[in-house]
Subunit: 229 residues, 2 copies
DNA sequence: GAGTGGTCTAGACCACTCA
DNA sequence: GAGTGGTCTAGACCACTCG
C-alpha cells in the first residue's frame, strides 16, 4: 500500500526540514514546481502545503511564496522542553547516564510494531532530577539506537528528526517505588512528579515518554498569555 | 465584502452546534446535501467539514456520516478550567464545602494591600478532589466575600468580574501534611499534586491560588495541537 | 445497491508582490 | 507582466457501511 499523494508531498517537505535540507526561513518550491515534480494537480499540492501551514511548519505569504517556519517557542507546560537546556539556563551542569537503550517489545499504543526503548537519568550538578523512560516508533526515528544520549537528549534528537505535530500530557503525583526511587535517590513512598507525554509526528504516534521527577526538587512551570479565543 | 463559501459553511455548522440546533452525537447533513443547500462543489463542502474535523468539532466516519463531536474533557494546563465543569464533563456530581472566607493580611506578592482569602474543598461524587486556597486582590473583585462559592466556583466568579490577562502555573509533587491531608482524606506523606497559579488582570496580580489534589485520584492533562485560530 | 466520506484532476479567476 | 498563493468548479474513482 502506497501513501496518498498529498501525504507523500507533506512527508517530502517535513523530511527536508528535518534533514536541514531546507533551513528555517528558506523558500520552499512553489506549488507549480511541486505539481511538476510529483505529477499531480495543484489542488493536491495546495492541500499538502495548507496543512503544513496550519501545523506551523511552514509560513505562506500570498504573492510571495512558502517558507520554512522559524522554530516557535511554545509557552509553558505544553512546550517540549529540553532538560539539558533548562539546567543550563539555571547556570548548572547537566549530565546524563544511560540505563537502557535497545529494542523493545510491541506496545498496543503504537499498533503492535516493534519499538525502541531508552531509560536515562538526568543529573543537575550531580543530583538526579529526572528519570526518563521512552518508547519510540522506529519508523519515525530509525537511527534512534545509534545516538549518544549523553551528548544529545532524546527529546532534542526526536524534535530534530521528526517534526512535532501534536503533544498530549498527563501529570500525576505518585509515590516513589523501585527502581525509580533508586534512580532518583529517594526513599520509597516519597512524592514523585510523573509527566506522561505522547508526541505525534507525520500522523503517527512518535513517542510515549514517562518523566519521573523528585517532587521535592522539581517544579513544572507554565506561562500563558491568552491571545487566541 | 462577503465571506468565502467554505468559511460560510463552517460558520453555519459551528453556529448550529453553539445554538444546540445540532446536539452532540447527532448526525450532520451529508456533503451532498450541503452542496445543494449552499450551491457549491463538493470539494468546497469537503474542505469546510475536514477543517471542522481537525478542530475536533465534528467527527467523521467514512461510509457513515459526520457527527457533532462529544465535548472533550481535555482539561488543560494551559486553559483555565473550572473544576465544576470538568467534573460535570465526566458525568459526575460536584459539591463544594467552604472552610474559610474572609479578609486576609497583606502579602508581599500583592504589594502590601489587604486581601481576601478563601479555602474550599471540591468533591467529585463525594470524594475530595481538590483543596483550593486562594488569595484575591480586593481591587479587582470587591464583592468576592459576598459570593456563595457552593454555587459558583471562585474561578468562575473571578473570570467573570476580572477578565483574564495572564496566567502562570507551577506544578509540584509534595507530601500531604495537616490540614491538607485531612481535607483530602489522605494519610500524611501521601503524594499531593500542588498547582500554584497566579492570574493577572488589568495589569495587576488578581489572585494567587494553591490547588492541592490527591496524587492518586487526580491527573492534570494537557493537549496541544499546533493550529492557529 | 444506495449512500457516505477520502481523494484526485485539470482547468479557472482572483488579489497580491516583485522586478 | 510573470509568478505566487487562495479559492472554486464539475466532474471522477475508491473503500467503506448499512439495510
Amino acid at each position: 500500500m502506497t501513501e496518498s499523494p498529498y501525504l507523500a508531498i507533506k512527508r517530502s517537505i517535513t523530511d527536508g526540514i528535518a534533514a536541514r535540507h531546507y533551513a528555517p526561513g528558506q523558500v520552499l518550491p512553489s506549488e507549480h514546481e511541486l505539481c511538476r515534480k510529483f505529477g499531480v494537480a495543484r489542488m493536491t499540492v495546495n492541500r499538502a502545503m495548507r496543512e503544513l501551514a496550519t501545523e506551523q511548519l511552514v509560513r505562506r505569504v500570498p504573492g510571495v511564496g512558502t517558507f520554512v517556519a522559524e522554530p516557535v517557542a511554545q509557552s509553558g507546560l505544553v512546550e517540549l522542553r529540553n532538560i539539558a537546556d533548562e539546567i543550563a539556563a539555571r547556570g548548572h551542569t547537566h549530565t546524563a547516564r544511560i540505563f537502557a537503550l535497545g529494542p523493545h517489545a510491541p506496545d498496543a499504543a503504537f499498533g503492535g510494531t516493534p519499538l525502541y526503548h531508552s531509560a536515562i537519568v538526568h543529573y543537575e550538578n550531580g543530583d538526579p532530577i529526572q528519570f526518563e523512560s521512552r518508547l519510540v516508533n522506529p519508523a519515525l526515528a530509525p537511527d534512534y539506537l545509534q545516538q549518544d544520549f549523553t551528548k544529545i537528549t532524546p527529546n532534542e534528537y526526536l524534535v530534530r528528526v521528526a517534526p512535532l505535530q501534536e503533544v498530549a500530557h498527563d501529570v500525576q503525583a505518585i509515590p516513589a517505588a523501585p527502581p525509580i526511587s533508586q534512580h532518583l535517590d529517594l526513599s520509597p513512598g516519597e512524592p514523585v512528579l510523573l509527566v506522561t507525554r505522547r508526541t505525534w509526528s507525520a500522523n503517527a504516534l512518535a513517542a510515549l515518554t514517562h518523566l519521573y521527577h523528585p517532587g521535592s526538587k522539581f517544579m513544572l512551570t507554565g506561562h500563558f498569555n491568552p491571545q487566541s479565543k
